[in-house]
């Protein structure tokens, strides 16, 4: 198994993903990722023509079948309170979360 994703790289990924993992779970997931990389590396063996274009959606979108951008018309959503009632913490019109860390410049 390759060590391409080292514990340091894995830790960085965990931070980017805004996750928190126990040591056993982390190690298991890291090993699984490295195994999967083995499959992904299969792609490198394929010769690619430099002119080969990407396919972003499966079907090709020609101008004819592409929907046009919409007109600049106001369509207000009738029940914003239905959205806000989903929030875990809501006070006086605002959604509430804990604060963001700051550092003072000396």
């Amino acid at each position: 198994m390759s060590e391409e994703i080292s514990p340091q790289i894995f830790e960085h990924l965990v931070q980017l993903a805004a996750l928190e993992l126990g040591a056993e779970e982390a190690e298991y997931l890291r090993r699984q990722l490295n195994n999967q990389l083995g499959a992904i590396h299969e792609l490198e063996a394929i010769p690619l023509d430099p002119d080969l274009a990407i396919t972003s959606h499966g079907i090709p979108y020609t101008p004819q079948i592409s929907p046009a951008p919409r007109a600049d018309e106001w369509r207000p959503f009738a029940h914003p309170e239905d959205i806000l009632s989903q929030a875990p913490q809501f006070e006086d019109g605002y959604i509430v979360v804990p604060d963001i860390p700051h550092e003072e410049l000396e």
Binding site: A18, P63, A71, D72, E73, E91, Y94, H102, E103
Partner: protein, 973 residues
């Protein structure tokens, strides 16, 4: 402490550490030798091979290293300290010596083939004194041949030295090797010489301190002579204290030099603590002008570059804040003759000083077969000297030969007296200026590229025009680095004034709405929602891109920028990354000239000229806005009203150079956005947001240092203040020897200070990928042309056209094109008026503009239409109404919307020019005011104006005032 850092310390730090045995002199020497090995590359040689790419990345300060000698000296210093003997005031401090000084046992070449093989049998006095003081000589550094030059390019030993700050540029000359070796941290001090500026000019180019002492302060014994009556050995260091310590050691009388003055040497280092409090420091307009060849064989004077003048004035401001008194307008009128005088005097002395290089006693002798002594002389000197010595020898011969001497040489010596007198007057303690020092730029330009000037001997010599006067007058001079420039780029986010958000049908503007009321499932990132692009967003962005001269892309893509933040509901922002709507672009930003007033409340004696700053645009793309958060009692409150508002992000290159320029950019950008109708651009309402990227570097450098990012500046004034504060902070850090780190800072408007924010994620961590929920923006020709048909004449273009077409002064044109509907109003009025456009301009700038401001409307919204304004002016021209009635008509037309002629008729406002009518009223006024009539007749003729006023009052302001005055004068006779 690591070896690298040791060689970057100052002289006093090293001396103290060595004396306290924290580090040995050997360790310091090794640090310098390591630095030399790392950065200097191959030393200068005669007949080297061509320049390699590696050569171009090295400094090449040295001609010969003397590591054994240095090691012996360092060991001796360490030995003395170990046994308790005094190691000297410069104990363990490594220094280099310009190879114009003889040092026993070393090649002393003067940078010339003719001395390439000369091993000096004695040591110059200044070098001997340095070694006796415990300093450690590391080697001989390169120079212009025989010190003839201002760029170090004329040395016979190649590769010639390069400027460590930017290796494609010259280090200056002739002490280029000295200043380069100090600036690169290869040595701590260097001994150079100054004849026209050869210490101070390269010191300025390399950002180090250089001192030309008073002529006669330092012995010239052992200095291979150039101009005997002008040459001065002197110190070069990275700081003023080091220069003072070095001058202390080398100064003073010498029995071997009959011109070394018997003047006691003061304690230069004690003076450092006193500072500048109470000193009178002068500024002279003659030093803010430079002489340049006019391309037709003559010379012309032009203002010095504004950045150089600004750097000197900033220095003056700092000195004033430190307690010095700045004295303006000190005349030094003979400054401009410094170079012509120098051309004559120095060449005469040099030619004679070079007589001794004849192949007889030492140095080069031609290897060719010669028929006689004369041929040996000629071939030896022709082969041994480079072009610069030959030029000086020939010129020296010419101006000193008997039949020419009176005209050139004696005359030059007399003009030298005038130059000296400028200084005597400036420094005379009983004179009008009583200066302690004169503050000037050192050089007319910053360091120029290698090869740029070499070959033009006149242009090269004029590089010294600001330093040479001190050499002629014998007075001391010091060059201090002052040229750090700010490098500023601005990131702006512009809120487009579409009706709805970019990806959903909510309103774009919700400034006055209660929180979380202008929302829908799409812009709050609920599960399952999809974005749909608003076509008007594309149209307004294309207009802006075209106005910024950017290349509009027919196909562009949206990307997801992924990160976590509570005001970003989807956890990603839809933006554009590598295939944006537009690429490139620029703005030619006019920077107005202004009065530069310094201290003591004097009115601006110096005006800086206006100029154009070219600002490139590196990014211009569309994206969606995030919501708003605020801090309350350790919690964050989130309002999503603003999520999904359409933004254009526009980023400039690092092209702005001051806080004022940044403010000007925002002013012009705001004007343009409103002009195009794509944004209200009100910074206080966050329609226009700005983050500033700020770094500093030596002036003229091409690289970029780490930058800080300033966020949360909410007005143009705040941008100016915050950037100015950050520039000052960075300069203080660098001057204290620290590095500037790439922080993100937040501007606290109320406290007026910058605070450090947590660092951002890097670009790679946003994991950009093409937004799969949106198709690319297809801007076909038809759509693009339809949009660009809306592009109006741009504000700066219209301003230029008003100046050209209507003959308006730039100031007036700037005001009249400040706002689009005002400029359209003006043109319509000029059309309708048909007469002198300047007359219309006067009425607009005084009265119409005031009305527009007071009523808070745009010119296009006035009921006082342009045609009506034209009519009113015509009525005044024709004499139908007088001027004050005309002015009151403006308001009446605005209030009623009726044509002026109608109002004049209806209210009977026509000017009364009926002689009889006025005469009758005048008679009444005089009859009712007998006391005033008496006073008038007794001689108080100013009362005439009062009588006219009374007649006007009685006639409802309609009388022709000139006629009334004539009639009254007649009646009062």
């Amino acid at each position: 402490m690591t070896a690298t850092e040791l060689c970057d310390l100052s002289a006093i730090q090293i001396r103290e550490m060595v004396r306290r045995r924290e580090v040995s002199a050997i360790e310091v020497l090794d640090a310098c030798l390591e630095r030399i090995a790392a950065v200097d590359g191959r030393p200068g040689r005669l007949d080297p091979d061509g320049l390699t790419p590696e050569d171009e990345q090295r400094v090449h300060a040295f001609i010969s290293l003397t590591p054994e000698r240095a090691r012996a000296q360092a060991a001796e210093v360490d030995r003395k300290i170990a046994v308790g003997e005094d190691p000297g005031p410069l104990a363990g401090v490594p220094f280099s010596v310009k190879d114009i000084f003889c040092v026993q046992g070393t090649p002393s070449t003067a940078g010339s083939r003719i001395l390439a093989n000369f091993i000096a049998p004695y040591t110059a006095t200044p070098v001997a004194r340095l070694e006796a003081a415990g300093a450690v000589m590391v080697g001989k550094v390169n120079l212009d041949e025989f010190t003839f030059g201002s760029s170090n390019e004329s040395s016979a030993f190649k590769p010639t030295p390069r400027n460590p700050w930017d290796l494609s540029r010259v280090p200056g000359g002739s002490s280029g090797g000295s200043t380069a070796s100090v600036a690169a941290g290869e040595v701590i001090l260097s001994l150079g010489t100054d004849t026209a500026g050869s210490i101070r000019q390269p010191a300025a180019f390399c950002g180090v301190v250089g001192v030309k002492p008073t002529y006669g302060r330092v012995s010239r014994y052992g200095l291979i002579a150039f101009a005997s009556s002008i040459d001065c050995p002197g110190p070069i260091a990275r700081d003023v204290t080091g220069a003072a310590m070095m001058l202390q050691v080398i100064a003073g009388a010498d029995p071997r030099d009959a011109t070394a003055a018997h003047v006691p040497v003061p304690d230069y280092t004690a003076g450092l603590e006193r500072g500048v409090r109470g000193l009178r420091i002068g500024l002279s307009p003659d030093y803010f002008r430079i002489t340049v060849p006019d391309g037709q064989g003559g010379f012309t004077q032009t203002a010095i570059a504004p950045e150089i003048e600004a750097a000197v004035r900033r220095a003056a401001q700092l000195l004033a804040e430190a307690g010095a008194e700045i004295v303006e307008d000190v005349p030094m009128p003979n400054t401009r003759y410094g170079i012509p005088v120098y051309f004559v005097i120095s060449r005469v002395e040099a030619a004679s000083n070079l007589h001794r290089y004849d192949g007889v006693k030492y140095g080069y002798r031609t290897p060719q077969r010669v028929a006689d002594l004369g041929e040996m002389y000629r071939k030896t000197r022709a082969e041994g000297f480079g072009q610069q010595p030959k030029l000086r020898i020939l010129m020296g011969m010419y101006v000193s030969a008997a039949q020419y001497s009176e005209q050139y040489y004696t005359r030059a010596l007399r003009v030298r007296t005038l130059i000296r007198r400028d200084f005597e007057q400036a420094f005379d303690p009983n004179g009008p200026y009583r200066l302690d020092a004169l503050l000037t730029p050192t050089t007319p330009t910053t360091a120029f590229p290698i090869g740029a000037i070499y070959g033009d001997s006149v242009l090269m010599q004029y590089a010294d025009q600001l330093t040479v006067p001190a050499d002629h007058a014998g007075v001391p001079g010091i060059s201090i680095p002052g040229g750090l420039e700010a490098v500023i780029g601005l990131e702006t986010h512009i809120q487009l004034n579409t009706l709805t958000k970019i990806f959903c049908g909510c309103k774009a503007d919700s400034w006055f709405d209660p929180p979380n009321t202008n929302i829908c499932p799409v812009c709050t990132g609920l599960p399952g929602v999809l974005p749909v692009l608003n076509r008007t967003v594309v149209e307004k962005a294309v207009l802006l891109a075209a106005a910024m001269h950017a290349q509009i892309q027919p196909l562009s893509y949206f990307d997801r920028k992924n990160y976590f933040y509570p005001d970003l509901p989807k956890g990603y922002q839809i933006s554009q990354y590598d295939r944006p709507l537009a690429k490139g672009g620029y703005l030619e930003l006019p920077i107005p000239g202004r009065d530069l007033d310094l201290s003591s409340g004097r009115s601006g004696a110096h005006t800086s000229q206006g100029y154009i700053r070219y600002v490139s645009i590196t990014k211009l793309h569309i994206e969606e806005d995030a919501g708003k958060t605020k801090n309350e009692d350790g919690r964050r409150l989130i309002d999503f009203n603003r999520c999904g508002v359409p933004l254009v992000e526009m980023v400039t290159g690092p092209d702005l150079r001051s806080a004022d320029e940044a403010a000007q950019y925002l002013i012009r950008l705001r004007q343009l956005l409103r002009w195009l109708g794509v944004s209200e651009a009100d910074m206080e309402k966050a329609h226009l947001r700005c983050d500033a990227n700020v770094s500093i570097r030596p002036k003229g450098a091409q690289y970029l240092n780490p930058k800080t990012e300033i966020k949360n500046v909410n007005s143009i004034d705040a941008v100016r203040t915050a950037i100015a504060a950050e520039i000052e902070r960075q300069i203080r850090e660098v001057e204290a020897g620290r590095q500037v780190e790439a922080w993100t800072l937040e501007w606290d408007e109320d406290a007026g200070v910058l605070r450090k924010m947590r660092s951002k994620e890097t670009e790679a961590d946003y994991r950009y990928f093409k937004e799969p929920d949106l198709l690319p923006i297809r801007l076909d020709d038809a759509w693009r042309d339809a949009i660009l048909a809306q592009l109006p004449e741009l504000p700066l273009e219209r301003r230029a056209r008003f100046v050209r077409q209507y003959g308006l002064p730039e100031y007036d044109a700037d005001i009249l094109t400040g706002e689009r509907s005002l400029s359209e109003y003006y043109e319509a009025a000029v059309q309708a008026y048909g007469g002198d456009p300047k007359r219309v301009s006067n009425w607009m700038m005084n009265d119409v503009l005031r009305m527009v401001n007071e009523l808070g409307v745009s010119a296009g919204e006035l009921r006082l239409k342009p045609a009506y304004l034209a009519e009113i002016i015509k009525l005044v021209d024709a004499g139908t109404v007088n001027t004050s009635t005309g002015k009151s008509l403006l308001l009446k037309v605005q209030e009623t919307g009726r044509p002026p002629a109608d109002i004049v008729q209806a209210e009977g406002l026509a000017k009364v020019s009926d002689d009889a009518a006025i005469r009758a009223v005048a008679g009444e006024v005089l009859a009712e005011n007998p006391k005033e009539v008496e006073s008038y007749k007794a001689g108080k003729v100013t009362l005439l104006g009062w009588f006219v006023g009374q007649v006007m009052r009685k006639m409802g302001g309609k009388a022709d005032p000139n006629l009334a005055r004539k009639i009254l004068e007649e009646l009062l006779r």
